[in-house]
Symmetry: C2
Subunit: 149 residues, 2 copies
């Protein structure tokens, strides 16, 4: 995938992250795309909004995409390096490509996925990093809760 | 944990799996317990029931337990060896112990968890294996969909 295309897809995830922040939640967003650029599902972390610790951005986008027979042609786009829970989702369902906004503020298991053959595109996006930097500064306890620290 | 205690906790997960089967769903159940044997959350796979591919048994039980500051004293009990998605959940949230009904019909990532220091108790339970054997025979396409094959 071209970086320019990846940056366009990232915009959906960033919009989700900003929506989550506006709702008082954890500002991480994600979107699942099909091979032809079709948006299959989008979502954001809903720990605060729904009291649901299982609703990470990536799992919310995956859920929103509904039941699918295969993920072989999909791309998961997320504002932040996916945690082990979300990396496990990518591995189990055979999602072949992950576009990541940034990994400066948190590094999950994306190197593990890369070692398993998943295409990882790390965009090192300033807007994504600023969202998380501000959130971690303002709500450190909520952030630690969200990643089980 | 004593195997006898683990077998008692497994009964909750088996009841969940049977409930899922009765609903026409994937017969995998799970429960999250606290250190003192308190049931924190229970659930079963809800792919069919809710059209939700993110609702595996373990994530459903985790969700049902609500927001928690720590999982350091918890035990995840599941009827089947947890897939990579559910193993990622266990790793990210620091769940230190997993009781598994059986791994004859499917082996997920529980050896990976064991290598990371998670206590794995595999009970090799006949009732759990029979539930899955019958399901995989009767609904192979649904099973493959659930594990992304």
């Amino acid at each position: 995938m071209e970086r320019g295309t990846a940056r366009e897809l990232l915009e959906t995830a960033v919009a989700e992250a900003r929506a989550g922040l506006a709702e008082g939640g954890v500002p991480i967003g994600a979107a699942l795309y099909g091979a032809d650029g079709t948006l299959l599902g989008r979502g954001h972390n809903r720990r605060v909004q729904d009291g649901d610790p299982s609703a990470h951005a990536e799992t919310a986008a995956f859920r929103a995409a509904g039941r699918r027979r295969t993920y072989a042609d999909t791309t998961m786009v997320t504002t932040l390096s996916p945690c082990w829970y979300c990396c496990g989702l990518v591995r189990q369902f055979g999602i072949p490509r992950v576009v990541i906004g940034e990994a400066r503020t948190f590094q999950g298991g994306h190197d593990w996925l890369a070692g398993l053959g998943v295409e990882i595109m790390l965009l090192d996006d300033d807007a994504c990093a600023e969202l998380m930097t501000g959130f971690i500064r303002d709500r450190p306890e909520l952030w630690n809760e969200d990643i089980g620290r």
